[in-house]
Amino acid sequence: MQFSFSDEQDQFRAIIQRFLREKSPTTEVRRLMATERGYDSEIWRQLAEQLGLPAIHIPEIHGGSGFGPVELCIVMEEFGRYLLCAPYFASSVLATTAIMNGATAAEQAELLPPIASGERIATLAFTEPNGRWDATGVELTADLAGGDYLLSGTKSFVLDGCSAELLIVVAREPGTSGSQGLSFFRVEPDAAGLVREQLQSMDATRKLARLTFTNTPGILLGELGSAAAALSRTLSLAAIALANEMVGGAQALLDSAVSYAKMRVQFGRTIGSFQAIKHKCADMLLEVESAKSAAYYAAQAAADNDSDLPALASLAKACASDAYMHTAANCIQIHGGIGFTWENDTHLWFKRAKSSEVFLGDPSYHRELLMQNREL
């Protein structure tokens, strides 16, 4: 197991940081989060063409750059730090990973190249209005009707579900339950019987949709009824990617809190010289560093195909969620009244922290998963 990044990985991170510092200042975040689609196509194009980020962990034979989870997580951490508005998590993490895990080689050869190049933005629709984050929550059905599959049911909390140009949908064979009978389907955005509605998300930088399927045609990906394992692997990697995104955000909040505390004067002293603030910051640093350790370790474990991956993914997700929320709350507290204003940027990260806390399952859900998946 590697416990530090290589020089190449550090350089890669520096390149992304330079890009984001320029392209994703909070003025841009605020502009884009107020739009319906939530991102800027031109930035997305640069991200793909200049940096090749959507291609990062896609195999080279499918137009990717063939890097792995560690590099993907470096990208996520920096996106989290700068709150980049882009459909990256939906397309490059969720949909890409689902296709890599669940589709046949031929299907991958068809679907992955346009995703890798950034030309096509995909998403994965798996959660439903019941809000469950695993296979057991899937109720949407796929009926075989004259050689075609017709999907019926509702997906919710679908990331970039309204803007995505390719939908990977998890559906189940009627009459099955649990992890049985699940398959991935691809659905075109203009498919018959598909209604896409934007949900109002608290975190306006993360666009969510409700998708209603009524006898909507879908094309099977991979083998019928065998998506459960692929979905589970996909969700593990997604949780790890999210954990890395969260530690980037938490670090941004910690930096902001510390630098404000060093500058803000009350009672003739910087507030950072008061133990109440000082010790809060020390505790924040410990929590953020711990979450980083978990997120980095899990990313490396994914790269190594570690058999303990589900447990490590849950550990990282639970740890990062708590660290992010605590850091966000403390960052507001340290800023005082100003930290509660719309004008101050803290709330942008606070809302991202809150949505990340529950997205893919909250800390208490993942702690229980950790207990189930880890040998004590």
Binding site: G131, Q200, G268, A329, G337, E343, F350, K351, V358
Partner: protein, 422 residues
């Protein structure tokens, strides 16, 4: 209120008899709000604890409660309950000149004038006495320059209670003065300030050579901090007042309608305050309706919240009971604010657990038509507004537990004290 010690000779029976008789003769729900309150203030039954000279009867708190009982019995309205106005009234009553009292008190009580409180500044929040808004005397009047913030109701206030610095060469608490400022003048600019929860309950107020006449200082020049302490001491008692008007929320009749309209305006900035406190009242029903009640881990968190919230309520009642028995209030009173922060944070956590994925939504997509989302993005305010948790802990440790203050870094002439360079 030094003057409220001039207790009258009423006993309970005579007082009750007199107020009942007066109400029978005077209370008329067909009157307009202002007409009734004008009659009321002139009678002295408006503020029974106040001196007879100023709209009162000079009676004790206990006897004043008897008056309130009789008013409630016939659903008679009291004086205007607008928060900053009430603060202005008690401050002027205690520190104002007779001319100032005559000029302002009655119109505060009738509700004809709205007020706002100009204390906090961008550079002085926790450190309220660190005010850098300046008041310079030009020989005939005061010129005000600087900025205030967190000013509720500034946009419709007639007058403001202003703390500003009049002397930069003395230690910080000694260089402040307390003014009545006419808000309706060109040198005063009011901007709404939007919060992270989308509401805009507060204002920023900018002064550019705003003017105050020489006779509009409350108490003496340089005594502003002492006057401000009076205002601050009354700040926490407003919740009770607002509770009283709620008791009339179902009565019909023009004067009640008028009062409700007035209350709606006063209450407008506070709409989200219940959410800020975490809405523990919603937890049970939410847990049941979502099925979260069946999750043993969530049950633990709900129980922790209930314990915190119940004990906070009981602690407050212990404090009130001690007061009613004429005993020293004990530490219970000072702890309420800190407890309410803990309760709100725990409630926000529990609402998140219960809501799961729905916690990502807002507006009408969020559970209870957005209330849940509003809780999650409002709770961070409770540990800041009205004195941060950190300041509360200082107060509790120093004033209740008697622990030593920290060495001060802001003594000496205020001019030389390190300040924010906003």
């Amino acid at each position: 209120m030094a003057e409220s010690n001039n207790m009258s000779n009423y006993d309970e029976a005579s007082l009750r008899a007199e107020v009942t008789a007066w109400l029978a003769a005077n209370w008329d729900p067909q009157l307009s709000l202002i007409d009734w309150r004008t009659r009321l203030t002139e009678s002295g039954w408006a503020m029974p604890q106040w001196p007879a000279q100023w709209y009162g009867k000079g009676v004790s708190a206990q006897l004043a409660a008897v008056v309130a009982e009789e008013f409630a019995a016939v659903n008679a309205l009291g004086v205007a309950s607008g928060g900053p106005g009430r603060l202005a009234a008690v401050t002027i009553l205690e520190h104002g000149s007779d001319a100032q009292k005559a000029q302002y008190l009655q119109r505060i009580l009738t509700g004809e004038d709205a007020w706002c409180q100009l204390f906090s500044e961008p550079g002085s929040g926790s450190d309220l006495a660190g005010s850098t808004t300046r008041a310079d005397f030009d020989g005939s009047q005061w010129l005000i320059n600087g900025q205030k913030v967190w000013t509720t109701s500034a946009h419709h206030a007639t007058y403001g209670l202003l703390v500003a610095r009049t002397d930069w060469d003395v230690p910080k608490h000694q260089g402040l003065s307390y003014f009545v400022l006419d808000m309706q003048q060109p040198g005063v600019e009011v901007h709404q300030l939007r919060q992270m929860n989308g509401h805009a309950s507060f204002n920023e107020v900018f002064f550019t050579d705003a003017r105050i006449a020489a006779d509009q200082v409350l108490s003496n020049v340089g005594n502003g901090w002492q006057v401000a302490l009076t205002t601050l001491a009354h700040e926490r008692r407003l919740a009770d007042v607002l509770r009283a008007t709620a008791a009339r929320s179902k009565l019909e009749g023009p004067i009640y309608e008028e009062e409700r309209a007035e209350t709606a305006i006063v209450m407008e900035p506070y709409q989200w305050y219940p959410q800020r406190a975490g809405r523990v009242d919603l937890v049970g029903a939410r847990a049941k309706s979502t099925g979260a009640i069946n999750d043993p881990a969530i049950r633990q968190e709900i129980a922790k919240l209930l314990i915190m919230s119940q004990t906070a309520e009981w602690t407050a009642r212990r404090a009130r009971a001690a007061q009613e028995h004429g005993r020293p209030q004990g530490p219970e009173g000072s702890l309420g604010k800190l407890a309410s922060s803990n309760v709100a944070r725990a409630a926000s956590h529990v609402h998140t657990l219960i809501s799961g994925a729905d916690a990502m939504l807002t507006g009408s997509d969020s559970p209870l038509d957005g209330i849940i989302a509003e809780i999650l993005v409002s709770v961070p305010a409770i540990s800041i507004a009205g004195g941060t948790d950190e300041i509360q802990r200082n107060i509790i440790a120093e004033r209740v537990l008697g622990m030593a203050k920290e060495p001060r870094a802001d003594t000496g002439p205020f001019r030389d004290v390190p300040k924010n360079t906003v």
